[in-house]
Symmetry: C2
Subunit: 352 residues, 2 copies
C-alpha cells in the first residue's frame, strides 16, 4: 500500500490515451450494499466490523478470480495525510478518508480498481482510466462487480434495482464521470452556456474533488445525476456523447483563441510558467491555477520539456497532504515547500 501513497503518479495519469489534451480521466463507480447489514451511517462499530469480515471472507477468492494483484488497507491504520494523498490521487473518496472507522480499501496494484468497504455504502467499486475510456472502464467495473455478486448477497429489488444509502444512487448504483480540463471555455466565458446544456440532459458538472468542490484550475467533473430508469450502457453512451461535444467545443475554442488573441493567450501561459519556476511561496489554489495554464500551454504545443502526466502528478504533489506526509506543517511553510517542488519539477521547461 505504501507505494500508492508514496508515489504521486498513478496509471490514470499515463500519457497515450485519446482526448488527453482535454480529458484527464474517466471513472466508473458502482454503489453496492449487502442485504443483511444496515447502511454504514446507521451501523454500530460492531456491525461495520461484521460486514468487513463477511466481505473479507470472500476476498481470497475474489483476488484470485479477478486476475489482478491487490493491496489491502485498513484506513484507520494510516495517517490523515496518507488518506489525503489517496483522495488527491482520486483513488478513494473524501467520504472514506473522512470516516476511516471500520473502513478499508482494496486497491489493484496498477491503481485502476478501488474497492472501498464501509464507505457511504457497504461497497463502492471504482475503476479509473486515462483519456477517453469510459466504456473500457465500465467493462472492468462490470467484471469485478459480477465477481463480487457471485459471492455476496447484494440488496437488490427488481422494481428499483440496487438499493443504496442515498436515494440518488438507487437503481444501477452507477456514477460515470469524466474529468475534463476546459480552460478555453472558461477564458472565453462560454462555460456557463455549456453547463446549462449539460444539466438539461440530466448530467451534472462539478469541481475536481466531486460534490460541493469548486472547479479550480478549470478542471471539471461531468457525471450522470441519476441512476434510475436507464441502463448502465445507456448512461455511458449519453455521457460519451456529451463529452465528445464538450471536447470539440473546447478544442475549437482553443483554436479560436489562438486566432483572435494569441499574444494574450501566450502571455498568460508565459507568466504562469514564470511564476511556477520563480516564486518562493505559492498557495494550493494559485498553484492549481498556474498548472492549469501550463497544461493549456502543453496542449497548444507551446510548452516544451514537460507533459500532461507531470502536471497531473504535480496536482497531487502541491496538496497539503503530500507536502506534510513526513513533516506535518502548515501555512507559509507549506507554501514554501510547494514552490520548491514546482521549481524543481519544472526546471528547464520553456515556452516557444
Amino acid at each position: 500500500m505504501i507505494s500508492a501513497i508514496r508515489n504521486a503518479e498513478s496509471s490514470w495519469m499515463a500519457e497515450g490515451a485519446a482526448y488527453q489534451d482535454v480529458i484527464l480521466s474517466n471513472r466508473i463507480r458502482l454503489a453496492r450494499n449487502l442485504k443483511d447489514y444496515p447502511f454504514p451511517a446507521r451501523a454500530t462499530p460492531e456491525e461495520k466490523q461484521a460486514l468487513g469480515e463477511e466481505i473479507g471472507s470472500h476476498l481470497p477468492w475474489l483476488l484470485e478470480e479477478s486476475g489482478r494483484e491487490w493491496l489491502q488497507l485498513r484506513l484507520e491504520e494510516v495517517t490523515p495525510q496518507e488518506r489525503g494523498v489517496l483522495v488527491d490521487k482520486h483513488l478513494i473518496s473524501p467520504q472514506l478518508a473522512g470516516h476511516p472507522e471500520g473502513a478499508s480499501l482494496l486497491l489493484s496494484t496498477d491503481e485502476v480498481v478501488s474497492i472501498m468497504i464501509n464507505e457511504e455504502d457497504h461497497i463502492r467499486l471504482q475503476v479509473l482510466l486515462p483519456g477517453q475510456q469510459l466504456h473500457e472502464a465500465w467493462v472492468v467495473a462490470d467484471h469485478i462487480d459480477n465477481l463480487l455478486e457471485n459471492r455476496l448477497d447484494y440488496a437488490f429489488r427488481h422494481d428499483l434495482g440496487y438499493l443504496t444509502a442515498c436515494p440518488t444512487n438507487v437503481g444501477t448504483g452507477l456514477r460515470a464521470s469524466v474529468m475534463a480540463h476546459l480552460p478555453a471555455l472558461v477564458i472565453s466565458k462560454k462555460y456557463g452556456r455549456i453547463l446549462t446544456a449539460i444539466n438539461q440532459m440530466g448530467f451534472v458538472v462539478r469541481g475536481i474533488y466531486g460534490e460541493g468542490s469548486e472547479a479550480t484550475g478549470q478542471i471539471f467533473q461531468i457525471s450522470n445525476q441519476i441512476s434510475l430508469g436507464h441502463t448502465e450502457v445507456e448512461v455511458i453512451q449519453s455521457l460519451q456523447g456529451i463529452v465528445k461535444q464538450v471536447v470539440e467545443e473546447e478544442r475549437n475554442t482553443r483554436i479560436a483563441l489562438q486566432n483572435s488573441s494569441e499574444p494574450m493567450l501566450i502571455d498568460r501561459i508565459g507568466r504562469s510558467l514564470g511564476t511556477l519556476t520563480h516564486a518562493r511561496l505559492i498557495t494550493t489554489e494559485d498553484a492549481v491555477q498556474l498548472l492549469s495554464d501550463l497544461r493549456l500551454g502543453i496542449n497548444l504545443q507551446r510548452i516544451r520539456g514537460v507533459g500532461n502526466a507531470t502536471v497531473s502528478a504535480l496536482l497531487v504533489k502541491i496538496q497539503p497532504a503530500w507536502l506534510s506526509l513526513d513533516n506535518p506543517s502548515e501555512g507559509s511553510s507549506l507554501d514554501w515547500q510547494r514552490a520548491g517542488i514546482l521549481r524543481q519539477a519544472l526546471e528547464g521547461v520553456s515556452l516557444e
Copy 2:
C-alpha cells in the same frame, strides 16, 4: 547627437559610485536668463531665435574653454520619439521636449552636462552624475555657469539673485535633486512618515519624471523646494544630510525586511523575475514595477547575472519613445515589443 538618442545607456547609470544600492543619480540644475530678452513663454518666435543666436555666438568659446566635447541639437529637427528618449534618459526636461520651437540643446558627449536653451528659462544648465555625488555635480555646474556668465549678461538683482520665469526658482536658480530607489520603505509603509519629515525641512519628494509625475517603481526624486535665502552650498549640504538619512533608513529597512519576512521578500523578487523573463505582453507601468523588484534583488545580492546599470538602461528601453523610435506603434504592439526586450536583456538572470 544620434549617439545620445541611439544608446539607452548613459554615464549616470555607470556602476561604481557610492550609495548606488539606493541612489540612481544626482542632478544639479541652474536656471538662468539673459537681461535683454523676454522669458521664452512670452517671447515671439523671432525673439527666441535672436536669443538662440546671441547664445550661439558665444558657443565656440564656451565649448573650447569647458575642456569638454559637445553635441549640439535643435529640438525641432528631431522626432517627438527622439526627444522622448532624451527625456527618459533624464538628459533634457519634459518641458524642453514638449516645446521644441526655437529650443536647442548642448550636450557634453559624456552626457554629464546638458545646456538647454529656450526652455522655461533662457538657459537651463544640468549636471547629472551617478550615485552620491551631489557636491561633485555642483562643482561641474558652477564651473560651466561661470564660463557662461563671463560672456552672457545674466538677469540678476542683488536683492533677489538670478531672475527666473517661475518665482520658485528666483535666487540661486538652483535645483539640487537626488533620484533614490526606496522599495523597502514603500513595502514597509514607512515612506509616508519620511516624506512628511523631508517636507518639513523645506525639501520635496516627487516621482521619477519630476513635478506632477507619480513615484512609479518606488523611485523618488528628492529636491530643494525653494532657491531663495540659502546659498547653493547650504542647500546641497542640507540635501546631502537628508539623503544620507534616507539611504540609511532604506538600508536598515531592507535588513529588517530580510530578517522578519525574507520568504515573502524573495518570493516577490522571484515572481517579478519570472514575469520579466516569461511574459509576452507587459505595460510600461508593470515593467517599471517589476524592474524595481529586480533592482531590489540585485542590491540584496540575491539576483545574479544583471546589475543596476542594466536596470537603469531598461527603464529607458521599456518606454514608448525608445520602442517606437523607428516604428511608431502603440498599445499591445508596444507591450509585445517591451516584453521581448526584457526577456532578451534578462536571459540567464537567476535568483539565488
